[in-house]
Amino acid sequence: MILRVLASLIAGAGFAIIFSVPAGIIPLASCVAALGWLVYEFTSGLLGLALSVFLSSLIIGILSRLIATLKHWPLQPLIVVGIVPLVPGSSAFYAMQSFMSEDLFRAFEYSYRTFSSASGIVIGLVASSTVFNIIEKIIELSNKNNNI
């Protein structure tokens, strides 16, 4: 498992360079990718595909927003590199391959996996925005109370 997490870190860094992410952002963005995959590895056996992808992308989203706020970096490269190991590229490929070879049972299975993963990522990222806003509000309120 540790090797797979390390591989996801390397995959994230490789993709970051292909997509021309600024060099300063790459190390932390790759760490976000590795952490996301670690959460997925821990939870996929217990929670199933969609929920584990949701949880991973929720954590990736919150962490990316935190880093972007603290470092004044753009959010998009952090999130995109972070979710790279989770995006359903391989299952989308297999789904299309099964459709073309008229293996409809496998095609629908892979399509379901693709749709579940993509939806899990999207809902996780949208939820992370809300959770991060709530955390920000709580910190703001507690700072105000401390000043009073």
Partner: protein, 250 residues
């Protein structure tokens, strides 16, 4: 000095064109352009799709200025997206004059790739190797995946062709080499293929399209989803053709 509407519109087009062609989302473009319009006292209506931007500026007395721009889609470039975001922040915070911003935008538009092609090719190989391992390949299959991917990425980046043909060739070349490696070294060729096709598979495009659909950017989301499906069809058609050819070879 207040900016003339045509100048505001020109700056908006430079921002919008740059962000969209660098792979930014419709939501990013609309938020950026509306903030420029608001700063200059205009009501702004923006409709952004991956290939066309439509901007309307409405003055307080009701007169309007409009422009439609066709966008040439390029591959995602986060260096440029970051630079556009920083320029926008500088403009909104009054750190730089609009004349300097426009000059910087023109310069940024002509910027070449951030990293050299050779480095990107090597990184595509490293990423493919890592993906093959993450998706259950053994060490040798992962290494073959990386070794196959880097030269194919380099070769296909040098071919001036349309995206569908590039994806077809990527699927074809990757699969044929993976099947040959599998045959000669007794490896699982599908584990090699799954790593090698990752730099071409539009996983991020699929996720972005659903994200845009969730944000009610229906035109942008559905057109990105269609593009992703076309890319997948090209890749799979290439891979299927290669299986057919390789079946005769091995």
């Amino acid at each position: 000095m207040a900016m003339r509407p045509e100048d505001v519109l020109f700056m908006m087009i430079l921002f919008g064109r740059g962000i969209v062609s660098s792979g930014g989302s419709a939501t990013d473009v609309e938020v950026a352009l509306e903030s420029i319009g608001k700063k200059n006292g205009f009501k702004t209506e923006v409709a952004s799709t991956p290939t066309v931007i439509h901007i309307s500026l409405i003055e307080p007395d009701g007169r309007s200025w409009s422009r439609i721009e066709r966008i040439k889609v390029e591959r995602p470039d986060f260096y440029r997206i970051t630079a556009y975001r920083n320029l926008l922040r500088e403009y909104l915070d009054d750190e730089t004059s609009w004349v300097d911003i426009v000059e910087s935008l023109k310069l940024l538009e002509s910027t070449r790739e951030r990293y050299p092609l050779l480095l990107r090719s090597i990184c595509s190989g490293i990423a493919a190797m890592a993906f093959s391992y993450v998706f259950g390949g053994n060490l040798l299959e992962s290494v073959f995946s990386g070794v196959i991917t880097a030269p194919i990425f380099l070769l296909l980046s040098l071919i001036p062709s349309n995206r569908m043909l590039i994806d077809f060739l990527a699927g074809f070349m990757t699969t044929i080499l993976a099947v040959l490696c599998g045959y000669f070294f007794d490896l699982n060729s599908s584990k090699i293929i799954v790593g090698s096709i990752m730099p071409y598979v539009p996983g991020i495009l699929i996720t972005n399209s659903i994200l845009e659909l969730a944000n009610r950017n229906l035109v942008s989301g559905s057109s990105k989803f269609t593009e992703a499906i076309l890319i997948l069809v090209s890749l799979v058609f290439g891979a299927s053709s290669a299986f057919f050819v390789a079946g005769g070879l091995v």
